[in-house]
């Protein structure tokens, strides 16, 4: 059992299928990626074998800019998994990448009381027991 920074219980690890493995590998290399359909141009997450718009099996993997906006968020006040007990309260959000795909993520280094919908966000990739986890912080400065 690995030792997480905050807890003595194992941090949950992703268990991706074949289509999802490159997503987590790319994060270890510092890139948040998504798939884009070669036929219709639709971009999507999470990983799938076929485009959910036109069912085309041909697609490319693109790196996201890391700029995103906040769609909605929740603040956990109880832990559903022991690895999160010492992290309460923590924020889970739906974010929309500027390229279009949406994903579940965390908002970190922000007071949840200050969050608002459509707030500009920036990607940070953080290590959790050897897994590179894509999270977001409120964007600062120009072009956010």
């Amino acid at each position: 059992m690995s030792t997480a920074a905050h807890d003595d219980v194992a941090f949950p690890q992703p268990d991706p299928n074949e289509a999802g493995r490159p997503f987590w590998q790319a994060l270890r290399d510092g890139a948040l990626t998504f798939q884009r359909c070669s036929a219709c141009g639709k971009g999507w997450l999470p990983a799938r074998s076929h485009c959910p718009n036109c069912l085309c099996p041909d697609w490319t993997r693109e790196q996201a800019s890391g700029r995103a906006r906040l769609v909605s968020w929740v603040v956990y006040r109880m832990a559903y998994h022991p690895a999160f007990a010492s992290r309460l309260p923590y924020t889970v959000a739906v974010v929309e990448l500027e390229e279009g795909p949406r994903m579940i993520s965390n908002i970190v280094r922000a007071d949840p009381q200050t969050l608002h919908i459509d707030q500009p966000l920036s990607l940070v990739i953080e290590d959790e027991s050897g897994t590179a986890v894509p999270r977001f912080v409120p964007a600062t400065g120009q072009g956010a």
Binding site: R77, Y80, V133
Partner: protein, 380 residues
């Protein structure tokens, strides 16, 4: 104008078990008890049944579950099986039974549901959502909290307005002798209720319950031949599937409940103004509030104001969840709402809406992924 199928099928009988903790009972046993009660209520012999539709128990998935249940009932149905699109399954199965009867595929159908997450396993309700577990994204309440936050931010819906939904259900449940939770809720008590996943509190979340419910569907003609004067006509039904997961849903505050209700109202030849009483799926307070909007009882974004001030309580403009709903009667996913809809049309509810002639019932599944709507009328 009504669809030709409107009113052709009826709910001829209803039955259920006790609700709450029923330790040691498996879901087959619970289903059999509810079905026995429903057959008795319909005044029909078991051997008349040739259709069996059953919702997959949420608490534990079992292959070929409908055959296990048919065996326990000593039945060889012509048609039926397990249907699974979450809590919407119940009304969807009633719709399919009505269509099957009309198509001559069966004559008398059982629709049933049993669950035992209170004393059995509740693992299905607490699971991590795949790879998103790395974000701490666990549990059903969080999905509804995500929807509720967006609704509050986008439309100005308040925590107190969510509380008004809980207060209505708890008031109605308090006078229902069969309700699992019979404690009315004040606004102050709601405000002090512990936060689970913000913005949702404990009192925004439905009960966790063991129990079963069943209804008997047959043609209006058959019920009439049997001399059943309490058979409740099915005036309309409809379904809708939002499908996208919460994270991917383009619009978090509108669901295919709108599609489902539009189909059901069109079939019945009715509008929301014709409805006297509503049983609205309330696994979480936000779900009931948004369904009232999607059904057209108020405009999108006005659900918060609609549920305030006793408007959805007995004596209000549209009494909702008159037996207590999932928040107070039982947390079972949905068929109990159909039973209360039937009781209202028969004039047999403990919180009877006087003169109620048309009732609507909603069922939904997942995090508002699926929806089914049923419109009921008074007995002929």
């Amino acid at each position: 104008m009504q669809h030709p199928l409107s009113g052709k099928a009826v709910i001829a009988g209803v039955g259920h078990t006790a609700f709450g903790k029923l330790a040691g009972r498996d879901t087959v046993s619970l289903n059999v008890e509810a079905i026995r009660n429903a057959l008795g209520d319909a005044g029909i012999a078991k051997d008349e049944v040739d259709g069996l539709y059953v919702k997959a128990p949420t608490s534990r998935f079992e292959m070929m579950y409908a055959q296990k249940l048919a065996e326990a009932l000593g039945l060889q149905p012509r048609i039926g099986g397990v249907w699974d699109h979450g809590g919407a399954s119940n009304i969807s199965m009633i719709s399919m039974a009505a269509m099957a009867i009309d198509a001559g595929q069966c004559e008398v159908a059982i629709v049933a549901l049993a669950d035992n997450p209170a004393t059995g396993t509740r693992q299905a309700y607490e699971k991590a959502w795949g790879d998103d577990a790395v974000f701490g994204w666990f549990g059903t309440p969080a999905g509804y909290a995500m929807v509720a936050q967006r609704h509050m931010q986008q439309w100005g819906t308040t925590s107190d307005q969510l509380g008004a939904v809980a207060m209505a259900c708890r008031r109605h449940g308090a006078s229902n002798p069969n309700a699992q939770l019979r404690k009315p809720l004040s606004l102050d008590q709601y405000r002090e209720s512990r936060l689970i996943v913000e913005p949702l509190r404990r009192d925004d979340c439905c009960l966790v319950s063991d129990g079963a419910a069943a209804v008997i569907v047959m043609s209006a003609k058959r019920a009439s031949r049997l001399g059943n004067t309490r058979a409740v006509p099915i005036l309309g039904f409809g379904q809708g599937q939002t499908s996208w997961d919460v994270a991917l849903r383009p619009d978090l505050t509108t669901t295919s409940a709108a599609v489902s209700a539009k189909t059901a109202f069109a079939m019945a030849g009715l509008t929301p103004a014709d409805i006297d009483v509503a049983q609205i799926y309330d696994c979480f307070t936000i779900c009931a509030l948004m369904t009232l909007e999607d059904y057209g009882f108020c405009r999108k974004g006005e659900g918060g104001r609609f549920v305030e001030g006793g408007n959805i309580e007995l004596g209000g403009r549209l009494p909702v969840n008159t037996s207590g709903g999932l928040l107070s009667e039982t947390g079972m996913p949905g068929l109990q709402l159909v039973i209360e809809g039937v009781r209202q049309m028969r004039g047999e509810s403990v919180n009877q809406v006087r003169g109620a002639r048309r009732g609507i019932v909603s069922n939904q599944g997942g995090i508002m992924h699926t929806h089914s709507t049923l419109i009921l009328g008074e007995p002929a």
